[in-house]
Symmetry: C2
Subunit: 364 residues, 2 copies
């Protein structure tokens, strides 16, 4: 089983989490620091397979909500995570048996692991999406029948909110509004579910895969081979999944706009050669659609990742800048995200795109 | 002691609540219907003096939050009010001993009375402001040391939120954001306080005064005397308080605008004679400042009420219309609202007015 015991393990996990964050999900840096602080105290997370959990176990997600730059100001404390756990247990009237990441892409890969290290509670090797997504209801837990609430959120100042909503769209609306009202970063517990529900809905093995992606990039970089060939080799080795190099070039334009609580933008990339090809990636918190000369080559919920073309270090959307030389990788989402039921919640039209989902393997 | 036993009693109370609502607070009509439904079942509210409550009693406010037109669509049910009470008792770990109105002006005069009728719990003859105000922290409970939370809010659809904030400005921000997110009218319990705190902070006798104002208008209207003379006589009979007729005329302009979650506007009134005088009343949910030829004659937190010039029926801001013939009354706020501490929270500058509070008795 995967283990997180050294700074290198954390760094590998973080690197993989940025790749799966597909531009969003928050820079895991703060989470790395926090998890490292646990390792420094001799505490390591206890990661177990999704299928090892008992049907009647109580599983919850632990997540940071809000703007990662604000999170940096209000660095989460041990007490906050322990308080969230205690409040959720009081609310539900029983002990929590296991934790699971809400989304493995970005910063929320880290907090369940940190709380596991603190408490010894197992963390399931899976999550609700296998990537990053911008909204509460965009996850397999919700799509396949769990509810996001009752949920508890806290901030570091001492404000707290418990909410229970009749559906997850409403949960998202309440959570987003509270985050805006409190003006600071929140941490919370969501999606209380049984072990049986976790087994029926989770995207599996994603903690392991995230660490392996990061490790693959690191070891390939340290070796003599082609880093991207090795990374694509790893991504394509996952059963039923595929990945492709979509483009290689330099960034000639990046637009950023914050509107309606979202980070919108577009990256334009051209080849390093004299070719007239143009490659664009649209941003709505995450990378939503990649187009080669105007033709879609990868679209939500499939994954688009932009990496430094030499080091293969994945880059978050807010760090993209003019002149960067990058490679873009597209990869297929977990099959649980590609069903009609899932596409109704997180297909292209849910991101304002006027096109239907076509799998990357048909587009490339 | 005041009693509410007949439809006329309710109507009197509602009429007084509109006058004290100073344009805002919500049309009490839905509350009237709801309270009448309790009377129809043979249940009457149990109103007791503020000073009769034991120091160690637990007192809470019960209030509707949000847009009164939306409230009309989702008419509050008995179950909702009982559920709020039960949840507050669970949250606080003890039985509630008494209810008190958050604000006596407008619709929130009615709900504590209805819940009292349903449960037999006493309602204190007082409230947190003696008028209507647009924000949670603008009340004597908050100003003199009680906290608005822990609080519980519910809607009729089954959504619920419990929140606890470090101060009442934050409570207001959270409450406003939740109301916007849920998009429907909410009902809640706020300001859990001890009997000792209620006695130290409440504006006293306001349920009685509200009903007496309504009754005074009704009986004066049915009699042969001058309705306004009798109403001013009553308002001036309250110890330490004064009231004046500010203007008599017809409305020649009303502007309404909804911006930042507030109802903004201005009413312009001119005399029925050929005089060139101009009288204006600014609206920010409530009437905030009345000016005669540009000179302030009454300003927050003193009360401005606009009434039909024949029937003396008080008119809410949203029902003001071109051509209405009206009289405007100004009256002094309760002394608890005029201290430096209170004016720091609900003086003119808190409503964006560039002037300091001057009592009506010095202005008129």
């Amino acid at each position: 089983m995967i283990s997180i015991k050294t700074p290198t393990d954390i760094k590998d996990l973080a690197r993989g989490a940025v790749l799966l964050g597909t531009g969003g999900g928050g820079d895991p840096y703060i989470g790395e620091l926090f998890l490292q602080a646990q390792l420094d105290k001799g505490r390591t997370p206890n990661i177990v397979p999704v299928d090892s959990i008992a049907d009647d176990a109580l599983v919850i997600t632990i997540a940071g909500v809000g703007s990662p730059p604000v999170m940096l100001e209000y660095l989460v404390s041990d007490d906050t995570l322990l308080e969230i756990l205690a409040r959720m247990e009081t609310l539900l009237g029983r002990k929590v048996d296991a934790l699971i990441s809400a989304e493995i892409g970005g910063i929320n890969s880290m907090f369940p692991l940190a709380l596991s290290a603190m408490t010894g509670l197992p963390v399931l090797d899976g999550d609700g999406v296998g990537r990053a997504v911008p909204r509460t209801e965009m996850c397999t837990f919700s799509i396949y029948g769990c509810l996001a609430t009752p949920a508890v959120v806290l901030d570091e100042l001492g404000n707290s909110v418990v909410f229970e909503t009749i559906d997850d769209l409403t949960a998202e609306a309440v959570l987003r509004s509270i985050t805006a009202a409190l003006g600071a970063s929140l941490f919370g517990a969501f999606y209380p579910m049984s072990g049986a529900q976790a087994k029926a809905t989770a995207v599996r093995n994603t903690v392991t895969q995230t660490q392996e992606i990061g490790r693959c990039i690191r070891t390939a970089r340290d070796g003599s081979g082609d880093v991207f060939a090795q990374l694509l080799g790893y991504l394509n080795s996952r059963p039923g999944r595929c990945a492709h190099l979509l483009f290689d070039g330099k960034i000639v334009d990046v637009t950023h706009e914050t509107r309606d609580g979202w980070h919108w933008g577009r990256v334009t990339i051209v080849p390093l050669t004299a070719s007239k090809d143009v490659f664009t990636v649209d941003i709505q918190n995450e990378f939503t659609v990649a187009r080669f000369n105007g033709r879609t080559v990868t679209v939500m919920p499939d994954l688009i990742s932009i990496l430094d073309r030499e080091s293969a270090e994945p880059i978050t959307a807010e760090r993209l800048a003019y002149g960067q030389r990058v490679k873009v990788i597209g990869s297929s989402a977990d099959p649980l995200l590609r069903t009609p039921k899932a596409l109704a919640v997180m297909g292209p039209r849910n991101f304002g795109l006027d096109e239907d989902f076509i799998p990357i393997e048909q587009l490339v």
